[in-house]
Amino acid sequence: MSILYFFLYLLLVTIIGLLYMGAARKITAHIQNRYGPPVYQPILDVLKLFAKKDTASHGIMHSLGPVIAYTGIAATLLFLPLGNHTPLLHFNGDLFVVLYLLVVGPLGMALGAGESANSNATIGIARALSMMLGYEIIFFMATLPVFYHYGTASIYRVIQAQGAFPDWAAILFPISFIAGLFALQGLMGEKPFELVVAPHEIASGPMVEYGGKYLGLLQIWHAVGIIVETGLFVDIFFGPQSILWFFAGTFIVFFATVIVNAVMPRFRIEQAVRFYWGLPLLLSILGILQVYIWR
C-alpha cells in the first residue's frame, strides 16, 4: 500500500513539475509579447514522447542514462520534505543525502549522452560539470550558515525551527539568501547560465541524441528537478510550515528565475564559472562570517 502511495506521490509531483514548465513557457511568451502554448502542453508533450515508437538508441548506457537520471531525481524527492509533509521513509531529510542524490541525475544523463558519441552532447556535459564547480559550491556555502545556526544537518528540522514570516532564514541570513539565489539560477540551468542546453550553440547539448521515450524521461526528470531544486531552496530559506506554502514558495521562486531567464542573455562557460567565483562567492563567505558573528 505504501509503495502505491509512493508512486502516486511521485506522479503528482511530476505532473506539478510539468505544469510549472508549462507556466514558464506561458510567462516567457507573455514577456516576449506572444501568446504561448497552454499550461498543460508539457504533459501532452511527454505523453506523446512516451507513445512514440522507433526511437534511436546508441547502446545500453545510452538507454539507461535517462532512467538513471530519473531514478536520481525521484530518490532525491523522496528524501526532501515538502514543507511539513514528509514521505514515509524519510529520516528527517539529511542535507548531504539530498545533495549527493541530486548529482545522480546529471551523472546518469551524462553517462547516457556520453555513449552517443556526439561531440555536442559531450561538450554540453563538460559544461554542466564545470558549472557545478560554480553554483554547487555557492549553493552549499549559502545554506551552510542556516544549518550551522540551527545546529542540525536535517532539512526537516531546519523547517521546523523556522516559523512564520519574520523567522525565515532568508531574513536572518539575507546575504546568504542572495548568494543562494545566484546559485539557484545556475542550479536550474536557466539563463544566463543556460550553457548546458544552449540550443543555438550545441544543439541542446546532452539531449541532442535523445528522442522519444528517452526525451520523455528527461522531460519528467527536468520537471521533478524543478520542484526538488526550488523546493530545497524554499525549505531551507523560507521554512514552509505546510505543503501549500511549500508549493506557493517554489512557484514564486521559480517565477523569479523564469523572469530572469526571459530577459537575460547567455554567458560563455568560462564567464559563468568566473562569475560564480566573484560576487556570489564573496557573498556566501560574508554569510558564513555573519553566522560566526551571530554566535
Binding site: 538508441s57 531514478t71 521515450k213 568566473r274
Partner: protein, 601 residues
C-alpha cells in the same frame, strides 16, 4: 611469534619466487599460494594485543599487533592478493615478485612495529623495495619517477628518524608511547617530524610531488597495490602519531590540527583540480587518489570521534574504489596498450565488465550513495559542521565536486564516445583483472549499504582515544546533527530505479543506431569523423581559473634544488685548482689555526 612467522613466510615466498623466476607457472602458483596463506594466517593467527620481541643481539625488534594494525593489515594483504593475481598477466621476472613480497613484508612489519627504530627500519625497507618496484615499471620515464619516489620516501624516513632521536633524547625510550608530558616546543617539532613520512606516503600536499609520476609509471597492476595499499601506511601513521604518540594533541596544539585539516582540504581540492586537467588515465587517477587521501587528513585534523571514524572508513573506501579504478585501467591498458584518454573511447561495448567496475568505482569516488564512498563523506561533513569550521567544510565540498568532474572525464575518455578503429577487436580484460574487479565490487556495494559492518571495528580503534559520540548499528548512524539509515537510501534508490525502468519498458520501442548515425547539423559524417571529444575536455577551465592552475609546488621545490646545486657548485669549486692552490690551502689553514689559537699557543 605469529607475526614473525608471517613476515618470515612472506620473505621466504619472495625468495622462492625469485629462484623459480624463469619457471613461470610454478613461480606464479607459489607466489599466489604464499599471498593467500599469508592472508588467512593473518586473519586466523594474529590477534590484537599479540606481542613479540625479536632479539637480533644488536637490537631488540619489538612487535605488537593492535586493532589498527589488524585493520590496515587486512586491507593491505587483501589488496596484495588482488594485485598478484592480476600481475600474472604481465611480463614479470622473479625479482619483481621478490621485491613485491619484500614491500609487503616491510609494510606489514611497519604495522606491527612497537618501537620507533624498527619502525624506521621497516619503513625504509618498504620504501626501498617499492622504489625497486617502480624502477621496474613500464614506461621510459619510470626511472625518473622511481628516483623521485625514492628521494621523497627517504626524506620522510629521515625526518621520522630525526623525530625518533629527539624523542629518545628527551624520553630515553624508543618505544612508541605517549610523550605528551614533555614540555616545550620540541614536542611540536617531534610531532611534525614524525608525521612527515606519513604525509609523504599518503601524498599530503606539499609532499605529494612524487605520487602522480610514481603511480603513473609503475606497472599497472602494482599501482593497484601501491595506491590502494601502501598509501594506507600513511593513514596508519597519522593514526599512530596523532593518537598513540600524542594523546593530548587536541588540548595542546589545536592549531596544529587545524592546519593539518586545512592542508588535507587543500590537498583534496587542488588535486581534484589537477586531476580533471589530466589527459592520462593513470595520472588522473593518481591525482584522484591524492585528493581522496586529503579527506582522510581532514578527518584526522578535526579530531573528533566520528571524524576519525570517517577518516578510517574513508581510508578503507579509498583502498576499495581507488584499487578498483586502477585495476580497471590496468585491464584496459593490457588490451589497448594505452592509458591516454584521447586515444581510447567507446570501449563499453568491448569491455562491459570493466565498464561496470569503473562505473561503480567513480560513483564511489564521487561519494554517491549507495556505495562505500558515501558513509565516510557523510560522516565527515557532519563532523565538519559540528566542529563549526564552515569555510573548511566548503573547501571539502568543493573538492568533492571536482571528483564528479574527473570521474566523468575518466569514464567518458575510456568507455564512452566513439570506438576507435584500432580497438574494434579488443576483448574484455583477462581473468585476473576481472576477478579483482568483481571481488572489489562486493565491499564497494555491501559496505555502502551496510556500513555498520566495518564501523564497529573502526569504532573499536577510535573509542579508546576519543569520547564516543557516534551512535550506530548495522544500518543506522546517528550523530548529534543528523541521522542516516543507509539501507533505506539504497532501498529508495532501488525502488525508484525500478519505477524508472518500468516507465522505460512500457514506453515505445527503440532500435539500435550506429555511432555515425548522429545529429551533426548539416555535416556528413563517416568512420573517420572525429566524434570522440576527450582531449582538452575541460580546456575552458584554464580560461576560467587562469593563472592559479599553472602554479605548482614543483617550482618551490626547484628553487630549493637550485639552492643546493649552487652550494654544490661552490663546494666543488674548492677542488678545482692545481697543486699550488692545494698547497696554499694547507698553509692558509695553518695560518688560520695559528691565528685562532694564537692565545693558547
Amino acid at each position: 611469534m605469529a607475526m614473525f612467522y608471517l613476515l618470515l613466510l612472506l620473505v621466504l615466498v619472495g625468495i622462492v619466487s625469485f629462484v623459480l623466476g624463469p619457471i613461470k607457472v610454478l613461480r606464479n602458483i607459489i607466489a599466489f599460494l604464499g599471498a593467500v596463506t599469508a592472508f588467512f594466517y593473518f586473519l586466523t593467527n594474529i590477534k590484537p594485543g599479540l606481542i613479540y620481541s625479536l632479539n637480533i643481539r644488536v637490537y631488540n625488534v619489538h612487535f605488537e599487533a593492535g586493532f589498527s594494525s589488524m585493520f590496515f593489515g587486512v586491507i593491505i594483504t587483501a589488496l596484495f592478493i588482488i594485485f598478484l593475481i592480476a600481475s600474472f598477466h604481465e611480463e614479470n621476472d622473479g625479482a619483481y615478485y621478490l621485491f613485491a613480497y619484500l614491500t609487503l613484508t616491510g609494510a606489514l612489519a611497519v604495522l606491527f612495529a612497537k618501537d620507533l627504530i624498527s619502525f624506521f627500519f621497516f619503513f625504509e625497507t618498504m620504501s626501498l623495495f617499492s622504489f625497486l618496484m617502480v624502477l621496474k615499471g613500464k614506461s621510459d620515464t619510470s626511472f625518473r619517477s622511481a628516483f623521485k619516489y625514492l628521494v621523497w620516501s627517504v626524506f620522510g624516513g629521515y625526518a621520522f628518524l630525526m623525530g625518533t632521536f629527539l624523542k629518545v633524547y628527551y624520553t630515553h625510550s624508543v618505544m612508541i608511547g605517549d610523550i605528551s608530558y614533555l614540555a616545550g616546543g620540541v614536542k611540536l617539532l617531534i610531532l611534525i617530524l614524525l608525521l612527515a613520512p606519513f604525509a609523504v606516503k599518503a601524498a599530503l600536499m606539499p609532499f605529494h610531488l612524487w605520487a602522480p609520476d610514481a603511480y603513473k609509471d609503475s606497472k599497472d597492476t602494482f599501482t593497484v597495490f601501491f595506491s590502494g595499499g601502501l598509501s594506507k601506511i600513511g593513514v596508519f601513521g597519522y593514526f599512530l602519531v596523532l593518537f598513540k604518540v600524542f594523546t593530548e594533541i587536541a588540548v595542546k596544539y589545536p592549531y596544529f590540527l587545524k592546519a593539518f585539516a586545512w592542508l588535507g582540504a587543500i590537498t583534496a581540492a587542488l588535486s581534484g583540480i589537477y586531476a580533471f586537467m589530466q589527459d592520462d588515465a593513470k595520472k588522473l587517477l593518481a591525482y584522484s587518489s591524492i585528493s581522496q587521501l586529503g579527506y582522510v587528513a581532514v578527518g584526522f585534523g578535526i579530531y573528533t570521534h566520528f571524524s576519525v571514524v570517517a577518516a578510517l572508513f574513508h581510508a578503507l573506501g579509498h583502498a576499495v574504489f581507488e584499487s578498483l579504478l586502477f585495476l580497471v585501467v590496468a585491464g584496459v591498458y593490457y588490451r589497448t596498450k594505452t592509458t591516454d584518454l584521447r586515444k581510447m573511447g567507446g570501449l563499453i561495448k568491448r569491455m562491459p565488465l570493466s565498464f561496470i567496475g569503473l562505473l561503480f568505482g567513480i560513483i564511489a569516488t564521487s561519494g554517491i550513495p549507495p556505495t562505500i564512498g558515501f558513509p565516510s563523506k557523510w560522516l565527515l561533513y557532519e563532523a565538519l559542521i559540528l566542529k563549526g569550521d564552515l569555510l573548511l567544510t566548503s573547501l571539502v565540498f568543493f573538492a568533492s565536486i571536482t571528483a564528479f568532474l574527473y570521474s566523468y572525464k575518466l569514464v567518458h575518455g575510456i568507455f564512452l564516445g566513439k570506438l576507435h578503429e584500432e580497438h574494434k577487436n579488443v576483448k574484455e580484460a583477462p581473468l585476473g583483472y576481472a576477478f579483482g574487479t568483481v571481488v572489489l565490487l562486493v565491499p564497494l556495494l555491501v559496505l555502502g549499504i551496510i556500513p555498520g559492518l566495518v564501523i564497529k571495528p573502526i569504532d573499536y580503534i577510535v573509542r579508546f582515544y576519543l569520547k564516543p559520540e557516534l551512535g550506530y548499528n548495522l544500518a543506522n548512524m546517528n550523530t548529534p546533527l543528523g541521522h542516516v539509515n543507509f539501507p533505506v537510501v539504497g532501498l529508495v534508490m532501488g525502488l525508484t530505479f525500478a519505477l524508472s525502468l518500468f516507465i522505460y519498458l512500457i514506453a515505445g520501442k527503440s532500435y539500435r543506431a550506429e555511432q555515425t548515425d548522429n545529429y551533426t547539423a548539416t555535416e556528413a559524417i563517416d568512420e573517420d569523423f572525429e566524434l570522440h571529444y576527450a582531449g582538452e575536455f575541460y580546456g575552458f577551465m584554464k580560461k576560467a581559473f587562469g593563472r592559479p592552475l599553472t602554479w605548482s609546488f614543483e617550482k618551490i621545490l626547484n628553487a630549493f634544488l637550485k639552492l643546493f646545486s649552487f652550494l654544490g657548485e661552490v663546494a666543488r669549486g674548492f677542488y678545482m685548482g692545481d697543486a699550488r692552490v692545494y698547497l696554499f690551502y694547507v698553509i692558509a689553514f695553518f695560518a688560520l689555526l695559528a691565528y685562532l689559537m694564537g692565545g693558547k699557543l
